[in-house]
Protein backbone atom coordinates (compact mmCIF):
# COMPACT_ATOMS: atom_id res chain seq x y z
CA UNK A 1 0.00 0.00 0.00
CA UNK A 2 1.36 3.38 -0.88
CA UNK A 3 0.76 6.16 1.61
CA UNK A 4 -0.88 8.23 -1.09
CA UNK A 5 -4.24 6.47 -0.90
CA UNK A 6 -6.43 9.33 0.27
CA UNK A 7 -9.50 7.29 0.97
CA UNK A 8 -8.02 5.24 3.75
CA UNK A 9 -10.17 7.00 6.29
CA UNK A 10 -13.45 6.54 4.52
CA UNK A 11 -15.30 3.65 6.08
CA UNK A 12 -17.09 1.53 3.55
CA UNK A 13 -19.12 -1.54 4.31
CA UNK A 14 -16.94 -4.58 4.81
CA UNK A 15 -17.08 -6.23 1.39
CA UNK A 16 -19.48 -9.11 1.22
CA UNK A 17 -20.79 -8.63 4.71
CA UNK A 18 -23.41 -6.02 3.84
CA UNK A 19 -24.88 -8.31 1.25
CA UNK A 20 -27.90 -10.36 2.05
CA UNK A 21 -27.58 -12.98 -0.63
CA UNK A 22 -30.57 -12.65 -2.95
CA UNK A 23 -30.95 -16.29 -3.81
CA UNK A 24 -31.90 -17.05 -7.40
CA UNK A 25 -35.57 -17.91 -7.37
CA UNK A 26 -36.44 -19.38 -10.74
CA UNK A 27 -40.20 -18.97 -10.55
CA UNK A 28 -40.09 -15.28 -9.59
CA UNK A 29 -37.42 -14.49 -12.14
CA UNK A 30 -39.37 -16.19 -14.92
CA UNK A 31 -42.59 -14.45 -13.94
CA UNK A 32 -40.94 -11.04 -13.72
CA UNK A 33 -39.14 -11.43 -17.05
CA UNK A 34 -42.27 -12.78 -18.75
CA UNK A 35 -44.10 -9.72 -17.48
CA UNK A 36 -41.41 -7.53 -18.97
CA UNK A 37 -41.76 -9.12 -22.40
CA UNK A 38 -45.55 -8.97 -22.36
CA UNK A 39 -45.45 -5.32 -21.44
CA UNK A 40 -42.95 -4.56 -24.19
CA UNK A 41 -44.99 -6.54 -26.74
CA UNK A 42 -48.17 -4.74 -25.84
CA UNK A 43 -46.43 -1.45 -26.69
CA UNK A 44 -45.08 -2.61 -30.00
CA UNK A 45 -47.49 -2.22 -32.90
CA UNK A 46 -45.62 -4.84 -34.92
CA UNK A 47 -46.09 -7.41 -32.15
CA UNK A 48 -49.79 -6.74 -31.88
CA UNK A 49 -50.24 -6.93 -35.63
CA UNK A 50 -48.37 -10.21 -35.94
CA UNK A 51 -50.14 -11.71 -32.92
CA UNK A 52 -53.69 -10.68 -33.75
CA UNK A 53 -54.11 -9.06 -37.15
CA UNK A 54 -51.93 -11.27 -39.31
CA UNK A 55 -53.41 -14.60 -38.16
CA UNK A 56 -56.89 -13.20 -38.77
CA UNK A 57 -55.97 -11.88 -42.18
CA UNK A 58 -54.56 -15.25 -43.22
CA UNK A 59 -57.54 -17.17 -41.82
CA UNK A 60 -60.03 -14.90 -43.59
CA UNK A 61 -58.11 -14.81 -46.87
CA UNK A 62 -57.58 -18.56 -47.17
CA UNK A 63 -61.17 -19.17 -46.15
CA UNK A 64 -62.53 -16.64 -48.63
CA UNK A 65 -60.39 -17.62 -51.58
CA UNK A 66 -60.37 -21.41 -51.30
CA UNK A 67 -63.70 -22.37 -49.67
CA UNK A 68 -65.52 -23.01 -52.93
CA UNK A 69 -62.83 -25.04 -54.63
CA UNK A 70 -62.31 -27.04 -51.42
CA UNK A 71 -65.99 -27.81 -51.14
CA UNK A 72 -65.81 -29.20 -54.67
CA UNK A 73 -63.15 -31.60 -53.36
CA UNK A 74 -65.47 -32.55 -50.51
CA UNK A 75 -63.76 -30.60 -47.74
CA UNK A 76 -65.48 -28.28 -45.28
CA UNK A 77 -62.69 -25.74 -45.40
CA UNK A 78 -63.18 -23.84 -42.15
CA UNK A 79 -62.86 -27.05 -40.15
CA UNK A 80 -59.82 -27.98 -42.17
CA UNK A 81 -58.29 -24.51 -42.15
CA UNK A 82 -58.48 -23.63 -38.47
CA UNK A 83 -55.73 -26.00 -37.30
CA UNK A 84 -53.58 -24.67 -40.18
CA UNK A 85 -53.86 -21.04 -39.13
CA UNK A 86 -53.28 -22.03 -35.52
CA UNK A 87 -50.03 -23.69 -36.57
CA UNK A 88 -49.17 -20.65 -38.65
CA UNK A 89 -49.77 -18.43 -35.65
CA UNK A 90 -47.39 -20.53 -33.60
CA UNK A 91 -44.79 -19.94 -36.31
CA UNK A 92 -45.37 -16.18 -36.05
CA UNK A 93 -44.94 -16.53 -32.29
CA UNK A 94 -41.66 -18.34 -32.89
CA UNK A 95 -40.44 -15.60 -35.22
CA UNK A 96 -41.26 -13.01 -32.57
CA UNK A 97 -39.35 -15.05 -29.98
CA UNK A 98 -36.28 -15.30 -32.21
CA UNK A 99 -36.21 -11.56 -32.77
CA UNK A 100 -36.77 -10.67 -29.12
CA UNK A 101 -34.09 -13.12 -28.02
CA UNK A 102 -31.62 -11.64 -30.50
CA UNK A 103 -32.52 -8.13 -29.39
CA UNK A 104 -31.90 -8.97 -25.75
CA UNK A 105 -28.55 -10.46 -26.68
CA UNK A 106 -27.63 -7.44 -28.80
CA UNK A 107 -28.79 -4.75 -26.40
CA UNK A 108 -26.75 -6.09 -23.51
CA UNK A 109 -29.81 -7.04 -21.47
CA UNK A 110 -28.75 -10.68 -21.35
CA UNK A 111 -25.25 -9.75 -20.25
CA UNK A 112 -26.60 -7.54 -17.57
CA UNK A 113 -28.93 -10.26 -16.30
CA UNK A 114 -26.05 -12.69 -16.23
CA UNK A 115 -24.07 -10.43 -13.92
CA UNK A 116 -27.04 -10.34 -11.54
CA UNK A 117 -28.45 -12.90 -9.16
CA UNK A 118 -30.90 -14.11 -11.75
CA UNK A 119 -31.26 -17.80 -12.59
CA UNK A 120 -29.35 -18.66 -15.70
CA UNK A 121 -32.30 -20.11 -17.57
CA UNK A 122 -34.76 -17.42 -16.48
CA UNK A 123 -34.28 -15.06 -19.47
CA UNK A 124 -35.07 -17.82 -21.96
CA UNK A 125 -37.90 -19.28 -19.88
CA UNK A 126 -39.38 -15.84 -19.28
CA UNK A 127 -39.47 -15.18 -23.00
CA UNK A 128 -40.96 -18.61 -23.62
CA UNK A 129 -43.69 -18.00 -21.04
CA UNK A 130 -44.51 -14.61 -22.53
CA UNK A 131 -44.71 -16.05 -26.05
CA UNK A 132 -46.99 -18.84 -24.89
CA UNK A 133 -49.32 -16.29 -23.31
CA UNK A 134 -49.25 -14.41 -26.58
CA UNK A 135 -50.10 -17.54 -28.55
CA UNK A 136 -53.08 -18.19 -26.28
CA UNK A 137 -54.35 -14.71 -27.09
CA UNK A 138 -53.95 -15.43 -30.80
CA UNK A 139 -55.75 -18.74 -30.36
CA UNK A 140 -58.67 -17.03 -28.63
CA UNK A 141 -59.04 -14.58 -31.50
CA UNK A 142 -58.82 -17.34 -34.10
CA UNK A 143 -61.35 -19.56 -32.34
CA UNK A 144 -63.82 -16.70 -32.01
CA UNK A 145 -63.60 -15.79 -35.68
CA UNK A 146 -63.50 -19.45 -36.68
CA UNK A 147 -66.70 -20.09 -34.76
CA UNK A 148 -68.34 -17.20 -36.57
CA UNK A 149 -67.31 -18.75 -39.89
CA UNK A 150 -68.71 -22.15 -38.91
CA UNK A 151 -65.84 -23.91 -37.20
CA UNK A 152 -66.95 -26.48 -34.59
CA UNK A 153 -65.30 -28.97 -32.27
CA UNK A 154 -67.14 -32.07 -33.44
CA UNK A 155 -65.56 -34.40 -30.90
CA UNK A 156 -67.03 -33.00 -27.71
CA UNK A 157 -65.57 -30.96 -24.84
CA UNK A 158 -62.80 -33.35 -23.77
CA UNK A 159 -61.18 -33.44 -27.16
CA UNK A 160 -61.73 -29.71 -27.46
CA UNK A 161 -59.68 -29.23 -24.29
CA UNK A 162 -56.87 -31.23 -25.83
CA UNK A 163 -56.67 -28.77 -28.73
CA UNK A 164 -55.02 -25.88 -26.85
CA UNK A 165 -52.82 -28.37 -25.03
CA UNK A 166 -51.38 -29.66 -28.29
CA UNK A 167 -51.04 -26.13 -29.58
CA UNK A 168 -49.11 -25.07 -26.46
CA UNK A 169 -46.89 -28.13 -26.68
CA UNK A 170 -46.13 -27.25 -30.30
CA UNK A 171 -45.60 -23.66 -29.20
CA UNK A 172 -43.17 -24.65 -26.44
CA UNK A 173 -41.12 -26.77 -28.84
CA UNK A 174 -41.08 -24.29 -31.71
CA UNK A 175 -40.52 -21.19 -29.58
CA UNK A 176 -37.62 -22.87 -27.76
CA UNK A 177 -35.99 -23.69 -31.10
CA UNK A 178 -36.52 -20.12 -32.27
CA UNK A 179 -35.05 -18.68 -29.08
CA UNK A 180 -31.99 -20.84 -29.68
CA UNK A 181 -31.85 -19.55 -33.25
CA UNK A 182 -32.14 -15.91 -32.19
CA UNK A 183 -29.46 -16.30 -29.54
CA UNK A 184 -27.16 -18.13 -31.92
CA UNK A 185 -27.43 -15.72 -34.84
CA UNK A 186 -27.75 -12.35 -33.08
CA UNK A 187 -28.16 -10.31 -36.26
CA UNK A 188 -31.67 -9.03 -36.71
CA UNK A 189 -31.97 -9.23 -40.50
CA UNK A 190 -30.29 -12.61 -40.57
CA UNK A 191 -32.67 -13.85 -37.87
CA UNK A 192 -35.67 -12.72 -39.91
CA UNK A 193 -34.28 -14.40 -42.98
CA UNK A 194 -33.54 -17.65 -41.17
CA UNK A 195 -36.99 -17.84 -39.61
CA UNK A 196 -38.56 -17.29 -43.02
CA UNK A 197 -36.43 -20.04 -44.49
CA UNK A 198 -37.84 -22.39 -41.86
CA UNK A 199 -41.40 -21.15 -42.02
CA UNK A 200 -42.17 -21.26 -45.73
CA UNK A 201 -41.08 -24.79 -46.61
CA UNK A 202 -42.41 -26.35 -43.42
CA UNK A 203 -45.71 -24.53 -43.61
CA UNK A 204 -46.41 -24.77 -47.32
CA UNK A 205 -45.05 -28.27 -47.92
CA UNK A 206 -47.37 -29.69 -45.31
CA UNK A 207 -50.92 -30.92 -45.14
CA UNK A 208 -51.84 -27.82 -43.15
CA UNK A 209 -53.60 -25.83 -45.89
CA UNK A 210 -54.35 -28.60 -48.40
CA UNK A 211 -54.55 -32.39 -47.96
CA UNK A 212 -51.39 -34.33 -48.78
CA UNK A 213 -53.29 -36.01 -51.59
CA UNK A 214 -53.36 -32.71 -53.47
CA UNK A 215 -49.58 -32.67 -53.81
CA UNK A 216 -47.70 -34.28 -56.71
CA UNK A 217 -47.22 -37.94 -55.83
CA UNK A 218 -43.43 -37.77 -55.47
CA UNK A 219 -43.81 -35.06 -52.80
CA UNK A 220 -46.53 -36.82 -50.87
CA UNK A 221 -44.40 -38.97 -48.51
CA UNK A 222 -42.40 -35.91 -47.45
CA UNK A 223 -45.53 -33.82 -46.97
CA UNK A 224 -47.22 -36.52 -44.90
CA UNK A 225 -44.29 -37.24 -42.60
CA UNK A 226 -42.95 -33.82 -41.70
CA UNK A 227 -43.66 -32.46 -38.21
CA UNK A 228 -46.03 -29.66 -39.20
CA UNK A 229 -48.31 -32.15 -40.96
CA UNK A 230 -48.08 -34.44 -37.96
CA UNK A 231 -49.11 -31.66 -35.60
CA UNK A 232 -51.93 -30.74 -37.98
CA UNK A 233 -53.06 -34.39 -37.93
CA UNK A 234 -53.14 -34.34 -34.14
CA UNK A 235 -55.08 -31.07 -34.01
CA UNK A 236 -57.57 -32.35 -36.57
CA UNK A 237 -58.02 -35.60 -34.68
CA UNK A 238 -59.06 -33.44 -31.73
CA UNK A 239 -61.62 -31.47 -33.71
CA UNK A 240 -63.11 -34.36 -35.69
CA UNK A 241 -66.10 -36.35 -34.56
CA UNK A 242 -64.73 -39.84 -34.46
CA UNK A 243 -61.14 -39.97 -35.59
CA UNK A 244 -58.59 -42.28 -34.03
CA UNK A 245 -56.74 -40.24 -31.41
CA UNK A 246 -53.89 -42.27 -29.98
CA UNK A 247 -51.77 -42.65 -33.09
CA UNK A 248 -51.72 -39.04 -34.30
CA UNK A 249 -51.17 -37.78 -30.75
CA UNK A 250 -48.28 -40.17 -30.18
CA UNK A 251 -46.57 -39.33 -33.45
CA UNK A 252 -46.99 -35.60 -32.92
CA UNK A 253 -45.83 -35.98 -29.31
CA UNK A 254 -42.67 -37.75 -30.41
CA UNK A 255 -41.87 -35.03 -32.92
CA UNK A 256 -42.49 -32.28 -30.39
CA UNK A 257 -40.33 -33.95 -27.78
CA UNK A 258 -37.51 -34.18 -30.31
CA UNK A 259 -37.92 -30.53 -31.33
CA UNK A 260 -38.02 -29.43 -27.72
CA UNK A 261 -34.81 -31.28 -26.94
CA UNK A 262 -33.15 -29.72 -29.97
CA UNK A 263 -34.27 -26.28 -28.82
CA UNK A 264 -33.18 -26.78 -25.21
CA UNK A 265 -29.73 -28.00 -26.22
CA UNK A 266 -29.35 -25.19 -28.77
CA UNK A 267 -30.54 -22.47 -26.40
CA UNK A 268 -28.34 -23.70 -23.56
CA UNK A 269 -25.32 -23.54 -25.80
CA UNK A 270 -26.16 -20.21 -27.35
CA UNK A 271 -27.01 -18.44 -24.11
CA UNK A 272 -23.60 -19.20 -22.61
CA UNK A 273 -21.81 -17.62 -25.52
CA UNK A 274 -20.12 -14.36 -24.59
CA UNK A 275 -21.50 -11.45 -26.53
Amino acid sequence: MTAAAPAATLAGPPPGAAVTDPRPALATDVAVLAGRHLRLMSRRPASIISAIVLPLVFALLFFTVFSRVMRRSGIDYIDYLLPAVVIQTVFFTGMSAAILAAEDALSGTLRRLRAMSVSRSAPALGLLAAELVRSVVSLGVLLAVGAALGFRFHGGPWKALGFPVVMLAFGAALVTCHIALGLAIRRLEAVTTATNLIYFPFMLLSSAFTPASAFPSWLRPLVEQQPVSRVADALRALTAQDAALARPLLIAGAWLLGLLLLGVVGATRAIGRPS
Partner: protein, 335 residues
Protein backbone atom coordinates in the same frame (compact mmCIF):
# COMPACT_ATOMS: atom_id res chain seq x y z
CA UNK B 1 -7.11 -2.02 4.77
CA UNK B 2 -9.13 -4.62 2.97
CA UNK B 3 -9.35 -4.98 -0.75
CA UNK B 4 -12.86 -5.04 -2.20
CA UNK B 5 -11.49 -6.10 -5.57
CA UNK B 6 -8.29 -7.97 -6.03
CA UNK B 7 -7.11 -9.34 -9.37
CA UNK B 8 -3.94 -11.32 -9.74
CA UNK B 9 -2.27 -12.00 -13.09
CA UNK B 10 -5.46 -12.31 -15.10
CA UNK B 11 -5.06 -13.62 -18.63
CA UNK B 12 -7.83 -13.72 -21.20
CA UNK B 13 -7.25 -14.40 -24.88
CA UNK B 14 -9.57 -14.22 -27.85
CA UNK B 15 -7.85 -16.21 -30.57
CA UNK B 16 -4.56 -14.41 -31.11
CA UNK B 17 -5.52 -11.33 -29.12
CA UNK B 18 -4.36 -11.20 -25.54
CA UNK B 19 -7.06 -8.93 -24.19
CA UNK B 20 -5.77 -9.39 -20.63
CA UNK B 21 -2.11 -10.19 -20.39
CA UNK B 22 -1.32 -10.76 -16.73
CA UNK B 23 -3.44 -7.96 -15.33
CA UNK B 24 -3.27 -7.35 -11.59
CA UNK B 25 -5.14 -4.67 -9.73
CA UNK B 26 -6.53 -3.85 -6.33
CA UNK B 27 -9.37 -1.63 -5.16
CA UNK B 28 -9.50 -0.76 -1.47
CA UNK B 29 -12.90 -0.96 0.15
CA UNK B 30 -14.76 2.33 0.01
CA UNK B 31 -12.56 3.88 -2.68
CA UNK B 32 -12.81 4.53 -6.39
CA UNK B 33 -10.30 3.00 -8.76
CA UNK B 34 -10.03 4.50 -12.22
CA UNK B 35 -9.02 1.93 -14.81
CA UNK B 36 -7.60 4.10 -17.52
CA UNK B 37 -6.70 2.97 -20.99
CA UNK B 38 -7.25 3.68 -24.68
CA UNK B 39 -9.77 1.87 -26.85
CA UNK B 40 -8.97 -1.85 -26.97
CA UNK B 41 -6.76 -1.77 -23.88
CA UNK B 42 -8.80 -4.50 -22.22
CA UNK B 43 -10.95 -2.44 -19.86
CA UNK B 44 -14.26 -4.06 -20.78
CA UNK B 45 -12.69 -7.50 -20.73
CA UNK B 46 -11.36 -6.84 -17.23
CA UNK B 47 -14.82 -5.82 -16.08
CA UNK B 48 -16.35 -8.87 -17.73
CA UNK B 49 -14.00 -11.16 -15.84
CA UNK B 50 -14.53 -9.37 -12.52
CA UNK B 51 -18.31 -9.47 -12.91
CA UNK B 52 -18.31 -13.23 -13.71
CA UNK B 53 -19.34 -12.71 -17.33
CA UNK B 54 -16.10 -14.16 -18.67
CA UNK B 55 -13.93 -16.90 -17.26
CA UNK B 56 -10.26 -15.96 -17.21
CA UNK B 57 -7.82 -18.33 -18.95
CA UNK B 58 -5.59 -18.05 -15.91
CA UNK B 59 -5.09 -15.90 -12.86
CA UNK B 60 -7.39 -15.23 -9.92
CA UNK B 61 -9.73 -12.52 -8.83
CA UNK B 62 -11.77 -11.89 -5.73
CA UNK B 63 -14.61 -9.43 -5.57
CA UNK B 64 -16.23 -8.54 -2.25
CA UNK B 65 -14.34 -11.42 -0.73
CA UNK B 66 -15.52 -14.05 -3.19
CA UNK B 67 -13.65 -15.80 -5.96
CA UNK B 68 -15.09 -14.87 -9.36
CA UNK B 69 -14.58 -18.35 -10.78
CA UNK B 70 -15.47 -20.52 -7.79
CA UNK B 71 -18.22 -18.43 -6.22
CA UNK B 72 -19.86 -16.54 -9.07
CA UNK B 73 -23.28 -16.52 -7.41
CA UNK B 74 -21.95 -14.79 -4.32
CA UNK B 75 -20.04 -12.28 -6.43
CA UNK B 76 -23.18 -11.49 -8.43
CA UNK B 77 -25.10 -10.97 -5.22
CA UNK B 78 -22.56 -8.35 -4.11
CA UNK B 79 -22.08 -6.23 -7.21
CA UNK B 80 -23.77 -3.77 -9.51
CA UNK B 81 -22.73 -3.33 -13.14
CA UNK B 82 -23.30 -0.55 -15.62
CA UNK B 83 -22.07 -1.69 -19.00
CA UNK B 84 -20.36 0.40 -21.64
CA UNK B 85 -23.60 0.56 -23.59
CA UNK B 86 -26.82 1.27 -21.73
CA UNK B 87 -28.95 -1.84 -21.54
CA UNK B 88 -32.34 -0.69 -20.40
CA UNK B 89 -35.61 -1.32 -22.15
CA UNK B 90 -36.32 1.61 -24.40
CA UNK B 91 -40.00 0.63 -24.46
CA UNK B 92 -40.39 0.81 -20.68
CA UNK B 93 -40.45 3.96 -18.58
CA UNK B 94 -37.59 4.67 -16.14
CA UNK B 95 -39.90 3.79 -13.26
CA UNK B 96 -40.86 0.48 -14.86
CA UNK B 97 -37.22 -0.28 -15.59
CA UNK B 98 -36.26 0.31 -11.97
CA UNK B 99 -39.17 -1.74 -10.62
CA UNK B 100 -38.14 -4.53 -12.98
CA UNK B 101 -34.59 -4.49 -11.63
CA UNK B 102 -35.87 -4.38 -8.08
CA UNK B 103 -38.01 -7.45 -8.70
CA UNK B 104 -35.07 -9.26 -10.29
CA UNK B 105 -33.05 -8.35 -7.21
CA UNK B 106 -35.74 -10.16 -5.23
CA UNK B 107 -37.36 -7.13 -3.67
CA UNK B 108 -41.06 -7.62 -3.07
CA UNK B 109 -43.52 -5.85 -5.35
CA UNK B 110 -44.23 -2.96 -2.99
CA UNK B 111 -40.63 -2.70 -1.88
CA UNK B 112 -39.44 -2.59 -5.51
CA UNK B 113 -41.87 0.23 -6.22
CA UNK B 114 -40.79 2.15 -3.15
CA UNK B 115 -37.13 1.73 -4.01
CA UNK B 116 -37.75 2.83 -7.61
CA UNK B 117 -39.38 6.04 -6.40
CA UNK B 118 -36.50 6.66 -4.04
CA UNK B 119 -33.90 6.16 -6.79
CA UNK B 120 -35.79 8.37 -9.23
CA UNK B 121 -35.70 11.09 -6.61
CA UNK B 122 -32.07 10.59 -5.77
CA UNK B 123 -30.87 10.63 -9.38
CA UNK B 124 -33.02 13.60 -10.39
CA UNK B 125 -35.14 11.47 -12.66
CA UNK B 126 -38.61 12.26 -11.31
CA UNK B 127 -39.48 14.48 -14.24
CA UNK B 128 -38.65 11.80 -16.79
CA UNK B 129 -39.98 8.96 -14.63
CA UNK B 130 -42.99 8.10 -16.73
CA UNK B 131 -41.80 8.77 -20.25
CA UNK B 132 -40.51 6.02 -22.49
CA UNK B 133 -36.84 5.47 -21.73
CA UNK B 134 -36.08 5.47 -25.46
CA UNK B 135 -37.04 9.13 -25.74
CA UNK B 136 -34.65 10.31 -23.03
CA UNK B 137 -31.31 12.01 -23.62
CA UNK B 138 -28.09 10.05 -23.37
CA UNK B 139 -27.16 11.65 -20.07
CA UNK B 140 -30.52 10.91 -18.46
CA UNK B 141 -30.37 7.34 -19.66
CA UNK B 142 -26.89 6.94 -18.18
CA UNK B 143 -28.10 8.18 -14.80
CA UNK B 144 -30.98 5.75 -14.97
CA UNK B 145 -28.56 3.00 -15.86
CA UNK B 146 -26.55 3.88 -12.79
CA UNK B 147 -29.66 3.90 -10.62
CA UNK B 148 -30.63 0.48 -11.97
CA UNK B 149 -27.32 -1.02 -10.95
CA UNK B 150 -27.74 0.00 -7.33
CA UNK B 151 -31.36 -1.08 -6.92
CA UNK B 152 -30.08 -3.24 -4.17
CA UNK B 153 -27.12 -1.42 -2.66
CA UNK B 154 -24.08 -3.38 -3.90
CA UNK B 155 -20.76 -3.66 -2.09
CA UNK B 156 -18.88 -3.07 -5.33
CA UNK B 157 -20.04 -1.17 -8.37
CA UNK B 158 -18.49 -1.54 -11.84
CA UNK B 159 -18.90 1.30 -14.30
CA UNK B 160 -17.63 0.81 -17.84
CA UNK B 161 -16.89 4.17 -19.48
CA UNK B 162 -19.81 5.85 -17.75
CA UNK B 163 -19.44 9.21 -19.47
CA UNK B 164 -18.22 8.33 -22.96
CA UNK B 165 -20.40 10.14 -25.45
CA UNK B 166 -22.02 12.49 -22.93
CA UNK B 167 -22.18 16.25 -23.24
CA UNK B 168 -20.20 18.25 -20.65
CA UNK B 169 -23.22 19.05 -18.47
CA UNK B 170 -24.46 15.48 -18.30
CA UNK B 171 -20.93 14.42 -17.55
CA UNK B 172 -20.78 16.73 -14.54
CA UNK B 173 -24.12 15.43 -13.29
CA UNK B 174 -22.94 11.86 -13.61
CA UNK B 175 -19.69 12.62 -11.82
CA UNK B 176 -21.69 14.07 -8.97
CA UNK B 177 -23.82 10.93 -8.81
CA UNK B 178 -20.72 8.73 -8.72
CA UNK B 179 -19.20 10.80 -5.91
CA UNK B 180 -22.38 10.42 -3.89
CA UNK B 181 -22.34 6.68 -4.34
CA UNK B 182 -18.80 6.56 -3.04
CA UNK B 183 -19.78 8.73 -0.09
CA UNK B 184 -22.45 6.18 0.76
CA UNK B 185 -19.69 3.61 1.11
CA UNK B 186 -19.84 1.75 -2.18
CA UNK B 187 -16.53 0.63 -3.65
CA UNK B 188 -16.32 1.63 -7.31
CA UNK B 189 -14.23 0.44 -10.21
CA UNK B 190 -14.73 2.67 -13.21
CA UNK B 191 -13.06 2.58 -16.58
CA UNK B 192 -12.41 5.62 -18.66
CA UNK B 193 -10.36 6.91 -21.56
CA UNK B 194 -9.99 10.35 -19.99
CA UNK B 195 -7.25 11.24 -17.56
CA UNK B 196 -9.36 14.21 -16.55
CA UNK B 197 -12.20 11.94 -15.46
CA UNK B 198 -9.92 9.68 -13.46
CA UNK B 199 -8.45 12.82 -11.92
CA UNK B 200 -11.91 14.05 -10.91
CA UNK B 201 -13.26 10.84 -9.48
CA UNK B 202 -10.67 8.24 -8.69
CA UNK B 203 -8.67 7.84 -5.50
CA UNK B 204 -6.20 5.75 -7.40
CA UNK B 205 -5.61 5.16 -11.08
CA UNK B 206 -4.38 2.09 -12.90
CA UNK B 207 -3.32 2.67 -16.47
CA UNK B 208 -3.48 -0.34 -18.78
CA UNK B 209 -2.50 -0.95 -22.34
CA UNK B 210 -2.81 -4.19 -24.32
CA UNK B 211 -4.02 -6.02 -21.24
CA UNK B 212 -1.08 -5.01 -19.05
CA UNK B 213 -0.64 -2.44 -16.29
CA UNK B 214 1.66 0.36 -17.45
CA UNK B 215 1.40 2.59 -14.41
CA UNK B 216 -0.34 2.81 -11.10
CA UNK B 217 -0.77 5.60 -8.58
CA UNK B 218 -2.87 8.62 -7.77
CA UNK B 219 -3.85 10.89 -10.64
CA UNK B 220 -1.55 13.55 -9.22
CA UNK B 221 1.42 11.19 -9.20
CA UNK B 222 0.76 10.19 -12.78
CA UNK B 223 0.42 13.73 -13.98
CA UNK B 224 3.68 14.62 -12.34
CA UNK B 225 5.39 12.16 -14.62
CA UNK B 226 4.47 14.41 -17.54
CA UNK B 227 5.25 17.58 -15.69
CA UNK B 228 1.80 18.77 -14.77
CA UNK B 229 1.16 20.52 -18.10
CA UNK B 230 1.90 20.13 -21.76
CA UNK B 231 3.09 22.78 -24.16
CA UNK B 232 1.62 22.28 -27.58
CA UNK B 233 2.80 24.06 -30.72
CA UNK B 234 0.41 23.86 -33.64
CA UNK B 235 2.09 23.76 -37.04
CA UNK B 236 0.26 23.06 -40.26
CA UNK B 237 3.19 21.94 -42.38
CA UNK B 238 4.65 18.49 -41.54
CA UNK B 239 8.23 19.36 -42.62
CA UNK B 240 8.13 22.44 -40.42
CA UNK B 241 7.01 20.20 -37.56
CA UNK B 242 10.19 18.20 -37.78
CA UNK B 243 12.30 21.36 -37.91
CA UNK B 244 10.62 22.78 -34.84
CA UNK B 245 10.93 19.49 -32.99
CA UNK B 246 14.65 19.47 -33.72
CA UNK B 247 14.99 23.06 -32.56
CA UNK B 248 13.34 22.33 -29.21
CA UNK B 249 15.05 19.10 -28.15
CA UNK B 250 17.09 20.90 -25.53
CA UNK B 251 13.85 21.74 -23.61
CA UNK B 252 12.78 18.14 -23.01
CA UNK B 253 11.37 15.08 -24.80
CA UNK B 254 9.56 16.55 -27.81
CA UNK B 255 6.94 14.43 -29.53
CA UNK B 256 5.27 14.84 -32.90
CA UNK B 257 1.47 14.84 -32.97
CA UNK B 258 -0.99 14.95 -35.83
CA UNK B 259 -1.10 18.74 -35.88
CA UNK B 260 2.16 19.90 -34.35
CA UNK B 261 4.61 19.06 -31.59
CA UNK B 262 4.28 18.81 -27.79
CA UNK B 263 6.60 18.71 -24.86
CA UNK B 264 6.19 18.53 -21.10
CA UNK B 265 5.83 21.96 -19.52
CA UNK B 266 6.57 23.10 -16.00
CA UNK B 267 4.51 26.30 -16.35
CA UNK B 268 4.34 29.60 -18.24
CA UNK B 269 8.13 29.74 -18.21
CA UNK B 270 8.14 26.86 -20.68
CA UNK B 271 6.22 29.06 -23.12
CA UNK B 272 8.83 31.78 -22.83
CA UNK B 273 11.60 29.25 -23.34
CA UNK B 274 9.92 27.84 -26.44
CA UNK B 275 9.44 31.23 -28.03
CA UNK B 276 13.02 32.21 -27.28
CA UNK B 277 14.35 28.94 -28.66
CA UNK B 278 12.34 29.29 -31.88
CA UNK B 279 13.54 32.85 -32.32
CA UNK B 280 17.12 31.80 -31.92
CA UNK B 281 16.66 29.00 -34.41
CA UNK B 282 15.22 31.43 -36.94
CA UNK B 283 18.09 33.82 -36.49
CA UNK B 284 20.44 30.90 -36.83
CA UNK B 285 19.01 30.50 -40.35
CA UNK B 286 16.47 27.72 -39.85
CA UNK B 287 13.64 28.23 -42.39
CA UNK B 288 10.75 27.79 -39.97
CA UNK B 289 7.82 29.20 -41.88
CA UNK B 290 4.65 29.25 -39.84
CA UNK B 291 3.75 28.50 -36.23
CA UNK B 292 -0.03 28.65 -35.93
CA UNK B 293 -0.44 28.54 -32.19
CA UNK B 294 1.45 27.94 -28.97
CA UNK B 295 -0.32 27.06 -25.75
CA UNK B 296 -0.31 25.23 -22.46
CA UNK B 297 -2.87 22.56 -21.70
CA UNK B 298 -3.54 19.91 -19.11
CA UNK B 299 -2.05 16.54 -19.97
CA UNK B 300 -4.30 13.92 -21.50
CA UNK B 301 -4.08 10.17 -21.36
CA UNK B 302 -2.13 10.35 -24.58
CA UNK B 303 0.50 12.59 -23.00
CA UNK B 304 0.86 10.26 -20.04
CA UNK B 305 1.19 7.42 -22.47
CA UNK B 306 3.88 9.17 -24.42
CA UNK B 307 5.78 9.93 -21.26
CA UNK B 308 5.41 6.44 -19.84
CA UNK B 309 5.74 4.21 -22.86
CA UNK B 310 7.26 6.37 -25.53
CA UNK B 311 4.45 5.54 -27.91
CA UNK B 312 1.10 7.17 -28.24
CA UNK B 313 -2.09 5.40 -27.24
CA UNK B 314 -3.23 3.57 -30.39
CA UNK B 315 -5.90 5.89 -31.76
CA UNK B 316 -9.07 4.12 -32.80
CA UNK B 317 -12.06 6.00 -34.04
CA UNK B 318 -14.44 6.27 -31.12
CA UNK B 319 -18.12 7.08 -31.38
CA UNK B 320 -17.40 10.76 -31.00
CA UNK B 321 -14.92 10.84 -33.85
CA UNK B 322 -17.42 9.16 -36.06
CA UNK B 323 -20.05 11.84 -35.43
CA UNK B 324 -17.53 14.54 -36.11
CA UNK B 325 -16.43 12.93 -39.34
CA UNK B 326 -20.01 12.56 -40.52
CA UNK B 327 -20.93 16.10 -39.64
CA UNK B 328 -18.08 17.67 -41.51
CA UNK B 329 -19.20 17.52 -45.16
CA UNK B 330 -22.53 19.14 -44.32
CA UNK B 331 -20.77 21.89 -42.42
CA UNK B 332 -18.45 22.56 -45.34
CA UNK B 333 -21.36 22.96 -47.67
CA UNK B 334 -23.07 25.36 -45.33
CA UNK B 335 -20.02 27.58 -44.94
Amino acid sequence: MTAAVEADALVKTFGDIRALDGLSLRVEAGTILGLLGPNGAGKTTAINVLTTLLRPDSGHARVAGHDVVDEPALVRASIGVTGQFASLDAGLTPRENLVLFGRLMKLGRAEARRRAAELLERFALTEAADQRTGTLSGGTRRRLDLAASITREPAVLFLDEPTTGLDPRSRLALWQAVRELRASGITILLTTQYLEEADELADRVTIIDRGKVVAEGTAAQLKQRVGGAVCHITIADPTDRQLVADALTSLGPVSLTSDGVSLPASGPETLVAVVRQLDEARHGGLPIAQVDDIGLRRPTLDDVFLALTGHSAAPEAGAGDEVERLARPAAEVAS
